[in-house]
């Protein structure tokens, strides 16, 4: 008894420590290298100052492209996720095989990182924002489909049954009794995903999928450090703006909930 308690108590911390050590050895992580790198890093940062303000205005249009990518990617993701979520939700799915298929789609799109989708689409359709939009749309199904399906499974079945009891079809029951119940949670999940997609679309630009991220990688490759700093400032502004926008939409929607 005493021995098992000892085991239970220490087994997790010990395993955790072993895992940390194993990973440090595996990756060759060393504090010494880190400290040795500090002068290089400060040198690099020093090279970026001051920002190249003359490039600020020309960079606004790629920044807008990044937001447009994130926005369109999210819109397409919603269009794809709603039907997938309905097919994946226990209480709405027409049959078990369909449910498993829909859940498979959700698991697959979530597991494969958006940057992998972006690399595939860049090879397929070429450089530019289109592969980025496709990658965001498809990868977002993994998260939105899951969150939507969970919201659908939590609806009060009473009203759905009441709509079916008047002789309405399944689609009508979904439209009139399920959708109204899940709207607030759908809006919240979608805005959250939009915030993520704004940041993701910057990263996708690094692999050629357009927007401000593409400008960043180009500036880096051409050693234009002052321009890089301008781009970082613009990225900061873009992310802040998009989070502010989605927060105010969220507050507006939730405020409406409370009022009515």
């Amino acid at each position: 008894m005493g021995v098992t308690m000892f085991k239970n108590r220490y087994i997790i911390p010990v395993l955790f420590l072993l895992f940390v050590i194993w990973s440090i050895i595996g990756t060759g992580f060393s504090i010494r290298d880190l400290i040795a790198g500090v002068p290089n890093l400060s040198n690099f940062i020093g090279c970026m100052f001051p920002p190249a303000w003359d490039t600020f205005v020309p960079l606004i249009s790629p920044a807008i492209e990044t937001i447009q990518m994130a926005f369109l990617g999210t819109v397409f993701a919603v269009v794809l996720s709603v039907p997938v979520a309905l097919l994946a939700a226990n209480n709405i799915t027409p049959s078990k095989p369909v449910k498993l298929l829909a859940r498979g789609v959700i698991a697959f799109t979530r597991t494969v990182p958006d940057i992998v989708f972006a690399l595939i689409f860049v090879s397929a359709v070429g450089l530019g924002p289109v592969p980025g939009i496709l990658a965001l749309a498809i990868h977002s199904v993994g998260m939105l489909g899951k969150l939507y399906a969970e919201a659908i499974e939590e609806v009060d079945p009473g009203p759905v049954e009441a709509v079916e009891a008047v002789g309405a079809g399944k689609l009508q029951a979904v439209y009139y009794a399920v959708i109204p119940q899940v709207t607030p949670s759908f809006v919240a999940s979608t805005l959250y995903r939009f915030d993520i997609n704004v940041r993701s679309s910057i990263v996708l630009g690094l692999v050629g999928a357009g927007g401000i991220g593409f400008e960043l990688i180009m500036a880096m490759r051409l050693f234009r450090y002052h321009e890089m700093l301008t781009i970082l400032i613009i990225i900061f502004i873009v992310v802040m703006l998009s989070e502010w926008a989605s927060n105010s939409i969220r507050a507006h929607v939730i405020g409406e909930e409370v009022l009515k």
Binding site: G158, P159, E161, A162, V163, E164, A165, V166, G167, A168, G169, L171, Q172, Y175, Y176, A177, P180, Q181, T183, K260
Partner: protein
């Protein structure tokens, strides 16, 4: 009007809940179903509009002289059948985030094409009919309120208006006033009686109190141990009460 013969229903766990249910309901009758909690009264009602599939027996609904065998219906026929049967639930089952008038219009969905109903277009006639239905249950001033903001009694009246929209020949009510205070319950029961009498709608209502049955029903069915143990006058004698609710183990 409605005839139920040898109805059987088994629970998923294998227990035979309804063993042999036989009764019929005539044109315009208001029949109360009484019985202990858990005897299968709700399931009995749900067999009649096929929210549940019975395991055996026969249910026949005769509307305008056309007999319709409920037990043998396929999916299309089940929808056709449900259009003619209104249902009132204990928990009202309104779509709380929609307006009252939209909830009433839901009663028309069974008769509207899929495409048109998905585009949210109700005919002017239907909208007018919905307002009349609300007027009928005395809440025409609440048409534009969000259903979730109404009191329980008001919500149940919206549910009644939703059923009126179906122009049903049969109304099923499952403990329609069990969640309401006594005064509000009176109002709702009065409305149920009034549409039953006024529109000649046969009503089959599970009630949680024999007292309500005595006041509003024309007849009482007592369910116990999977069969109908009482079928008769709504005024129960002490012996009748014992047959339906009594503890006969001692």
């Amino acid at each position: 009007m409605l005839t139920v013969n040898h109805l059987r229903k088994r629970l998923p766990n294998g227990k035979l809940l309804l063993r042999d249910i036989n009764f019929s309901v005539g044109e315009g009758e208001f029949v109360a179903i009484l019985g202990l909690s858990g005897t299968g009264k709700t399931i009995l009602l749900r067999c009649i509009n096929r929210l549940t599939t019975p395991d055996g027996g026969e249910i026949v609904l005769t509307d305008n002289g056309n007999p319709l065998n409920i037990t043998q219906s396929d999916a299309g026929e089940i929808r056709e059948l449900r259009r003619r049967i209104g249902m009132i639930f204990q928990s009202f089952n309104l779509v709380k985030r929609r307006s009252v008038i939209e909830n009433v219009l839901i009663g028309k969905l069974g008769r509207i094409g899929m495409v048109r109903s998905l585009m949210c277009r109700f005919a002017d006639d239907d909208i007018e009919m919905a307002h009349r239905a609300l007027n009928r249950v005395g809440i025409s001033d609440l048409a534009d309120r969000r259903a979730g903001t109404l009191s329980g009694g008001e919500q149940q009246r919206v549910a009644i208006a939703r059923s009126i929209m179906q122009d049903p020949c049969l109304l099923l009510a499952d403990e329609p006033v069990a969640n309401l205070d006594p005064t509000t319950a009176e109002v709702v029961m009065e409305h149920l009686r009034s549409i039953s009498v006024g529109n000649g709608i046969s009503t089959l209502a599970v009630l949680h109190q024999p007292e309500l049955a005595r006041r509003y029903a024309t007849r009482v069915l007592g369910v116990r141990d999977g069969v109908i143990v009482y079928d008769g006058d709504a005024r129960l004698s002490d012996d009748d009460f014992e047959v339906i609710y009594g503890c006969n183990d001692v």
